[in-house]
């Protein structure tokens, strides 16, 4: 059974930005992860096929084609993990 860890290389809390989190997908799984998220989340805005503003279950976030996602103002890494589980699994 797939897990969030199958897709995610690391979740880092950023300095600044009121405890945002940056998620980095594993390189060989990033395209699959991006496709899954694009399917489940609502696309609000995008630019040049690089940055995507998305909305899912009351949370806005920005995803990058390089395989990174920025969640702003997130409470904890566990909260990010829960959203990723809902998006990816």
């Amino acid at each position: 059974m797939a897990t969030v860890e199958d897709y995610v290389a690391r979740i880092e809390e950023t300095c600044g930005e009121e405890k945002s989190a940056v998620v980095t997908f594993k390189y060989n799984k990033k395209d699959e992860a991006i496709a899954k998220i694009m399917k489940k989340a609502e696309l609000k805005n995008s630019l040049s096929g690089i940055i995507f503003e998305l909305f899912f279950q009351g949370t806005s976030f920005r995803m990058f084609s390089s395989g990174k996602v920025v969640f702003k103002g997130i409470k904890s890494k566990e909260a990010v993990h829960d959203i990723l589980a809902a998006l990816l699994l």
Binding site: T14, G16, E17, L47, R62, F64
Partner: protein
């Protein structure tokens, strides 16, 4: 960290709204109790060049020593510790084409000679003599710098850093500074004229700063900007740059920071600005 161990008081000097140092405020902080004044010669956030010589003079007039963080100045400009008359100056290898994990601390020889070692190990001891009467060993420390270089040193790092120093000296630090000034002037002009949502933080006067450009784009976080630029192979730093209090002064959540060095070109700044114009459409 040391104030927690030794219990001394740290006083902080103010900066002006443009990121330049408030010299009068700094100088007002000195008293007969002041032991050490510390200052970055160049801010790693704003790129502002501080007048270290002026503060060192005031420090010495008040009987204090002067410690300078030269991590952002030594790689980018001529730095003469004798002319500045600073007591200590530290810099890092990885910011000047050298390897990570190595740097240097300059100290006046007369001061180093009076200081005790902070670490034990090979090379830092001259003599160990057992006293038959007291049953104890007497130790003579080695001369500086060996007194402070206990154990097997980072030999590879030292050799590589020396090569980086030779490389930069061969170019000439005045030439390095001249090139960076040219790039900074060009970047300020281009960013201000071509970008509509971009804000440059701190002073944009190239005469007052090195090639460090902190900026933000309205509606986007510094991390959004950095990740977008990354897709075009352009690297900038985002976040606090290890300087949260300065961001509080600027009333910023964080900032993106572009920085230039000898290998950068005007064409690269053109490309950087093109991508900034692109992200402004978001």
């Amino acid at each position: 960290m040391i104030s927690k161990i030794n219990g001394f008081t740290i006083k902080y000097a103010k900066v002006n709204d443009d990121g330049t140092l408030d010299y009068e405020d700094f100088e007002s902080k000195f008293s007969s109790k002041t032991k050490l004044a510390s200052l970055s010669q160049v801010s790693n956030v704003s790129g502002v060049i501080n007048d270290v010589k002026r503060i060192a003079k005031v420090a010495h007039e008040n009987g204090a020593l002067m410690l300078v963080d030269g991590a952002q100045s030594v790689p980018h400009m001529p730095v003469d510790v004798r002319d500045l008359d600073v007591d200590f100056l530290a810099f890092s290898g990885h910011k000047m084409l050298g390897p990570t994990g190595i740097g240097a601390l300059y100290g006046k020889k007369s001061l180093l000679e009076t200081m005790a070692p902070f670490q034990g190990g090979g090379e830092m001891i001259k003599d160990v003599i057992f006293n038959q009467k007291t049953g104890r060993c007497g130790i003579d420390w080695n001369e500086p710098p060996w007194k402070f270089e206990a154990g097997t040193p980072n030999i590879c790092g030292g050799v590589a850093l020396m090569e980086a120093v030779k490389y930069l000296e061969n170019i000439g630090m005045s030439e390095v500074l001249k090139h960076e000034k040219m790039l900074t002037e060009y970047a300020v002009k281009t960013m201000q004229s071509c970008c509509t949502k971009l804000v440059l933080y701190g002073t944009s006067d190239p005469a007052l700063k090195c090639g460090i450009m902190p900026f933000g784009i309205a509606g986007l976080s510094s991390h959004d900007v950095a990740l977008f630029l990354d897709n075009y192979g352009i690297m900038v730093r985002s976040g606090f740059h290890c300087a949260q209090p300065l961001h509080q002064v600027f009333k910023l959540q964080s900032s993106a920071r572009a920085s230039f060095y000898i290998y950068n070109t005007r064409e690269e700044i053109d490309r950087f600005v093109e991508v900034l114009q692109e992200i402004e459409k978001f």
